[in-house]
């Protein structure tokens, strides 16, 4: 296991290869905003999330009705139905047409992207535990968790205030809580509810479906957790724009961040 901290922080800027004083370059190079581990796993996750979102939406179109409990179909009352056309004539949608069936590749892409993002997530979690990334960067301090601090931060967000210089190197408490929620609640839940829809997996681990209230409940929760992840994505991207799109995405790609005028 390579030491991710060194991998991340000892980044030598590309093109700064001055042979006479390699160590001097290291000393003066700005530290990374994100470690190599975070940057690589973040990129892989972006691609997988987009693939999962598009293919997941496509699969939902084949039956845009949701139920609670073990079973549900067009002969039973749904919990709710999305007001969209369907790719199956079986579903009564109120639209006079049926969309083309795209489930084949959608399902294949969905599961392949799921495998990749799960492997990526496991690698990220193990390395982050070993390097202390969770404790150092994501765990809010006691002081920051006070109501006063939280409400100050919320007000700043609501005023669309640009983050200050200090936040170039650390996350604010709302950011920390949002990331922790995604990493430790939403991702595990979306994986669990996904597996609870697999007849083979459930045959080996029946509790994975019954604890959620049944197969259809698992499907409905999977849908809502996905919506929560999309909501996170939207807010996340808005915040990146607010903080400075070029510097923040640049930091996520190269690790380096421009300090000064554009560095906010």
């Amino acid at each position: 296991m390579p030491n991710m901290e060194t991998l991340g922080s000892a980044e030598v800027p590309v093109g700064a290869c001055v042979p006479s004083s390699a160590s001097a370059v290291r000393a003066t190079a700005p530290p990374s905003r994100h470690s190599a581990l975070v940057r690589v796993t973040h990129s892989v996750t972006i691609f997988c999330f987009i693939a999962l979102l598009v293919s997941g939406a496509e699969i939902v179109i084949s039956h845009p009705r949701f139920y609670w409990g073990e079973t549900g179909n067009v002969l039973t009352t749904p919990l709710f139905q999305l007001p969209i056309p369907s790719s199956r004539a079986l579903v009564p949608t109120g639209y006079g047409y049926v969309l083309p069936d795209q489930n084949g590749w959608s399902r294949a892409l969905h599961f392949q992207a799921a495998w990749i993002v799960v492997f990526t997530g496991v690698l990220y979690a193990i390395c982050s535990l070993l390097t202390g990334h969770f404790q150092k960067d994501l765990l809010p301090t006691k002081a920051n968790l006070s109501w006063r601090m939280l409400s100050t931060e919320i007000k700043r967000r609501l005023r669309f205030e640009r983050p200050g210089e200090a936040e170039t190197w650390s996350y604010n408490v709302l950011q920390q809580l949002a990331y922790l929620l995604v990493i430790f609640v939403l991702f595990p839940l979306v994986i669990w509810t996904g597996l609870a829809m697999s007849p083979a997996f459930v045959s080996a681990f029946p509790a994975s479906a019954t604890l959620l209230g049944g197969r259809q409940s698992a499907r409905t929760i999977h849908f809502f957790v996905s919506l929560a992840l999309v909501l996170f994505l939207v807010v996340h991207v808005v915040m990146v724009f607010l903080a400075g799109f070029r510097s923040r995405t640049g930091a996520m790609i190269t690790g380096r961040t421009a300090t000064g005028s554009e560095g906010a």
């Binding site: 073990e70 489930n103 084949g104 007849p199 083979a200 045959s203």
Partner: protein, 252 residues
């Protein structure tokens, strides 16, 4: 500096060699233990293979959930089916007395069974859920003869790896590995909820694999072939599903 890069080079080289060798060994082992699905090629092949291999290791002997009678769906949904051809209409008009299940391939005694013959074998029932890949599902009591019993009657050869099964609809055929073929819940179902299996639900004879999605539970079964390779069937991908873009293995 040069020492360091040389050491790095050696370590990287060794790691790469180990990685490639490891992958090679893994592929050989996977092939040997039947963890590679017939549709393992193409861009989605790695995902399909990972799913199949992982679930075969986890679920070779696991049993699908069975439900209490009270959870049986009031109306078992009959999904859309393509219009019947004349051969089916003729058999239906005769009350399916001339329906035949032909079994051939790598078997000791190829045979042709009538429904009456199939019904004379030990009849079992299971209350399991049928889940469609689209998302909907229902629970029914399925009555039939375990596929393993029919395979015992014809005597499968030891090299058998797949059971291919065909619907009377020529576009609809599937196959399963021996883990599913010999699984106690894999049924040739001829009854549902205490009655004959309705045509809408696949009657008179339907394959039931409760550990896989509904599209593997092919309706109107007329033929089984036991084989050690899927190469000679269709495009060699295992069934009609991968030819239409769907996964051969539908345990997910």
């Amino acid at each position: 500096m040069t020492d360091l890069s040389r050491r790095k080079l050696i370590v990287t080289g060794l790691a790469a060699t180990a990685g490639v060798t490891g992958l090679g060994v893994a592929a050989r082992l996977a092939e040997k233990y039947g963890l590679v699905p017939p549709d393992h090629g193409g861009i989605y092949g790695p995902g399909e293979t990972l799913t199949y291999a992982a679930q075969r290791l986890l679920t070779r002997h696991s049993l699908a959930r069975e439900f209490p009678r009270s959870q049986i769906s009031k109306r078992p949904l009959a999904n859309e089916i393509p219009p019947f051809r004349d051969d089916f209409k003729r058999l239906a008009a005769g009350g399916f007395v001339d329906w035949r299940l032909n079994v051939d391939g790598m078997v000791g005694r190829p045979a042709s069974f009538s429904l009456t013959q199939l019904k004379s074998y030990p009849s079992l029932s299971q209350i399991t859920e049928l889940a469609c890949e689209e998302g909907w599902s229902y629970i029914a009591e399925w009555i039939g003869v375990p596929l393993s019993h029919v395979l015992d009657v014809v005597g499968i050869r030891p090299q058998a790896k797949y059971v291919v099964y065909f619907s009377i609809d020529p576009d609809w055929w599937e196959s399963m590995d021996m883990a599913d073929a010999l699984h106690p819940q894999t049924f040739l179902a001829y009854g549902m909820n205490g009655d004959d299996l309705p045509v809408g639900n696949g009657g008179p004879l339907r394959m039931r694999l409760p550990r896989q999605l509904g599209y593997k539970s092919v309706k109107f079964i007329t033929r089984l072939t036991v084989t050690d390779s899927m190469k000679g069937f269709g495009k060699g991908l295992g069934s009609a599903s991968p030819e239409g873009g769907y996964a051969w293995y539908a345990g997910i």
